[in-house]
Amino acid sequence: MNFHMAWRNVWRNPKRTGIILVAIIIGAWTMLAYCALARGVMASSLESALNTLTGHIQIQNPGFREDPAVENRIRNPAPVAALLDHALPKGSCWAFRVQAGGVASNARNSQGITIVGIDPEKEPELSFYGNATAQGRLLEPGDDRGIILGQALLDSFETKIGRKLVLMTQDADRETASRAFKIRGTFRAEMEGTEKQYVFITLAAAQKLLGIGDNVSLACIRLPGRTGQDKAELNPVVEALTRELPRDLTALTWIDLLPLLKGYLGMFDRFMLLWYLVVFIAMAFGLVNTMLMAVLERTREFGLLKALGLTPVRIVKNVLLECLVLLVIGLGAGNLLGVLTIYLFSGGIDMSFMAQGSEFWGLGRLVVPFVTAKDLLSVNAVIMGLGLLVCLYPAVKAAGITPVEAMN
Amino acid sequence: MNMVDVKEVSKTYKQGKVAVHALAGVSLSIAKGEFCALAGPSGSGKTTLLNLIGGLDTPTQGKIFLDNDEITGLSQSRLASIRLNKIGFIFQSYNIIPVLSARENVEYVMLMQGVPARERSERARAVLDDVGLAGMHDRRPAELSGGQQQRVAVARAIVSNPAIVLADEPTANLDSQTGQGLLEMMARMNEERNVTFIFSTHDRMVMDFAHRIIRLKDGLVAHEQIK
């Protein structure tokens, strides 16, 4: 009954209601769309950072982070492998890597790079290595002569698939070690810098080049889905690992490894909240104004209701109910539009037209907007909660109308 | 010489899906200086006819001449200018501009006509005194009684010396004493300024004042009476 009355009251002035509904719809819609874009940007920087060989957790020699040199390697990888094979949550993947600075050269060029020895079977799930093969193919198990490099590096070396690349580095005994590899394929990374930085060879080839036997530089771990992005879900895994890890090794999360990124994401979150608030305030002016108009032009009616014995609380409730109807319709349509927009852009937004700019901000080339349930909830909660709050003003105004002044 | 010539005018409204024939071929002429009433029950087409004569509305069929000029088929802005310069309106619910004072309401019409400020204010004062509102020139409508507001409306209608004043049930919202005062005043204006007045009314008293009563029924002239 109350709801019926509210519904009809809302539609007494369809034009006015329409306009404020449009305002609410646009508010909810743009909040969601912008949030999705921001999430996409955040996820893109996070993904791109995690993908750039960080992973969610790394097992390292404690000195490696400060000084990623061959000296600071895992000298006894077998127990680590055994531990990781059983202690990780279901759906996780992990792999050993060997990492060393070096120089790649061919007949015409020579450039400093990072040599990464990888497990050809496990690595594709772990990092950008497996994401986008631009040309050729990835390394196959046992392909100890193959090398995969970034497309940008290939271009700057003016070479092609099947050609040679000579890697030179300092081995564990600080002697110069070098070896020629055949280019099997190239990868595309989110950032050109990454493409120019890393070359991939097999773990065995890297171990041989560096003369480190079965030793590795680190173990990189990726937890299933998005769980690895959340500190709360990450910590128990790290704790469990740390308990059983050999004493001389340490487990680090991406939050430890990339503290700047964490700060950046935190700022983004705060900025989003601020953005909600700003959009909401802009909307609230219209909402209050509309409700105020609706209330004041019905002064007589409220006077009459009061004369009929309606308590002020009931009147406040009635007005708020009208407000609620507006908000629910607006939010419904706004959410729908928002979700639709996100769906339309689910293929991703190509940022490559701003490649240098996005690289500067650590962004990937493709931003895929998305929202989490939490975002959906917070957008709706902000509009609904604060919306009802500001509507209290016209509601109280309506409740304050006395029968006498209403009849005049 | 006729002030108004209405020739075979009919007007059909669409009310929802039903066509309402407000006027069904009315013809009449009103001479200059007449003080004339359109009478009839509500729905008989009085107001419609008045609106058509005033150029507020356009007939479905037929022609209307005002001061021997045809006004049917003119553009909105031509009509607006005719209304501004030749016609004064008085409405049942006064319809004076609430944000303007009595004098400003009167002056506004002259402003639109492009009368200089000085002359505007002199003429406004004079006409307001004339309609019996001396001392109330600067009151806002909310501070005036119904009768006084309607006097402002009359002042506004006649200040620009229109050829014709159209009054749509001017006394309907007034008590009889105030109504009578207003009518006396209008009759005086009719005599003194030789302004043509056409009323629509079903008020006995108004008809008593009129020199000619045209009775409408179902959109047709049913009866005419000249005193």
């Binding site: 743009t30 935190g266 104004n289 105020l292 | 944000v99 303007l100 002056e107 506004y108 019409v109 639109m112």
Partner: protein, 418 residues
């Protein structure tokens, strides 16, 4: 009188009017503040890059910025300095010389970029002086003394007081070598730079690399970013007094060019454009929100008063007159809102310009981009007025809808309305 009428109409419903004005003012305030923050941030970013690395303008040998070849020198920098001393808006200038070299400590060897700087003049331009983490910056009396980036120091495993050997190729192709004493370690915030940069006094650099009086860069800073292009033009004109159509003469030999900071670091300007683009989406959304928020006020101004408007039509007011009146009314609201918004926005921005906005956890990340932990908005005429100008346009457009709608009103229908 029409202005009077509009004015009175505006205040017929003071509550609504105030709310509408506040909405407009709010939009102005947000726009002014946000734009100022953005401009402030960009200025800091640009300044950080300008101050640690490029300066506002550099005079270099053509092509030197693409490929740092040691032989591409400015052979007579003093003559350029003389020109600069007389160029208005130039606040400071200094010389730099660069060379790639092999740096080695007792424990490690790696490649780095040695820059010879004039300690005294450099400190007026570069903020490296202010980012010293350990030790001190170079002094004019120093000879084989160096300051180096924190990451380079970490790679070399050296600390203040340790020695670093630099080995490179001098300008004449001979071996350039020197032992440098680490006087200080800086952390400019830009990792790339901190990983490779080492600075030594210019005279020592010129001695070691057999540069004589030649340098690679004449670095210039201006009093404001906005004057950079002007200074650049006058400098270029002074460097090339003859029209470039004649390729003869000594200009062609010298082959010097003037480059501004945006040409020297193209990634920076694009990153700013991108952030600005994101900001523009934000502003557009905000403006649309405000437009719909205030539209009801304008629309109601017509609907509530349809009857009154009908009367005006009846007594001979043309539709144009009504539109004008409505536009006047909305203009009142808009102007009030904008004035209020500009005032409040300027006060707020000005306040934060003085106190700064702390960034908490994000400090570190911003440092990476050369932004200090405190963001200061920068209020300029442009940031104070461009936002409100946008608001003005959008509210006027919003007001246009009812103002045009009223033209379709016929007196009879209008007066029949409730």
């Amino acid at each position: 009188m029409e202005i009077l009428m509009a004015w009175r109409n505006v205040w017929r419903n003071p509550r609504r009017t105030i709310l509408t004005i506040l909405a407009i003012a709010f939009a102005c305030l947000v726009l002014i503040f946000m734009l100022s923050v953005q401009v402030g941030t960009y200025e800091v970013m640009i300044n950080a890059s300008v101050k640690t690395r490029t300066g506002h303008i550099q005079v270099i040998k053509k092509g030197y910025n693409k490929d740092h070849k040691i032989r591409q020198v400015v052979s007579d920098p003093e003559s350029i300095a003389k020109i600069l001393d007389q160029t208005p808006h130039v606040t400071a200038h200094t010389f730099r010389a660069n060379a790639f070299a092999l740096l080695s400590s007792d424990l490690r060897t790696c490649a780095g970029l040695i820059t010879g700087v004039d300690p005294e003049r450099e400190s007026k331009i570069s903020n490296i002086v202010h980012t010293m983490r350990k030790g001190r910056f170079l002094k004019p009396s120093d000879t084989n003394t160096a300051v180096l980036g924190a990451l380079l120091a970490k790679n070399l495993k050296v600390n203040v007081g340790d020695e670093v050997v630099a080995l490179g190729s001098a300008m004449d192709g001979s071996v350039a070598a020197t032992v440098l004493k680490v006087a200080g370690i800086f952390s400019s915030g830009m990792d790339d730079y901190d990983r490779s940069a080492i600075q030594i006094p210019l005279p020592h650099f010129q001695e070691v690399f057999y540069m004589e009086n030649a340098v690679h860069e004449v670095v210039v800073t201006c009093d404001s970013l906005w004057h950079v292009s002007r200074v650049k033009e006058s400098l270029a004109a002074a460097l090339h007094p003859k029209p470039p159509a004649e390729p003869t003469g000594q200009d062609a030999d010298q082959g010097l060019v003037c480059l501004s900071w945006d040409e020297l670091t193209p990634g920076l300007i694009q990153s700013i454009q991108m952030d600005l683009g994101g900001g523009l989406i934000f502003y557009a959304i905000l403006l649309v929100m405000v437009a719909f928020s205030i539209m009801n006020t304008f629309v109601m101004a017509v609907f509530e008063r349809t009857r009154e408007l009908g009367t005006l039509l009846a007594i001979g007011a043309g539709p144009g007159r009504l539109s004008k009146m409505l536009v006047l009314e909305s203009a009142f609201l808009t102007l009030w809102g904008i004035t209020l918004g500009i005032l409040a926005g300027c006060v707020l921005t000005f306040w934060f310009q003085h106190t700064g906005i702390p960034l908490g956890g994000a400090e570190g990340m911003l440092k990476q981009y050369g932004i200090p932990g405190l963001i200061r908005p920068r209020l300029t005429l442009a940031t104070a007025l461009s936002g409100p100008a946008l608001v003005f346009i959008i509210t006027t457009l919003t007001a246009l809808y009812p103002a045009l709608k009223v033209r379709r009103l016929t007196p009879v229908d209008a007066m029949r309305a409730v």
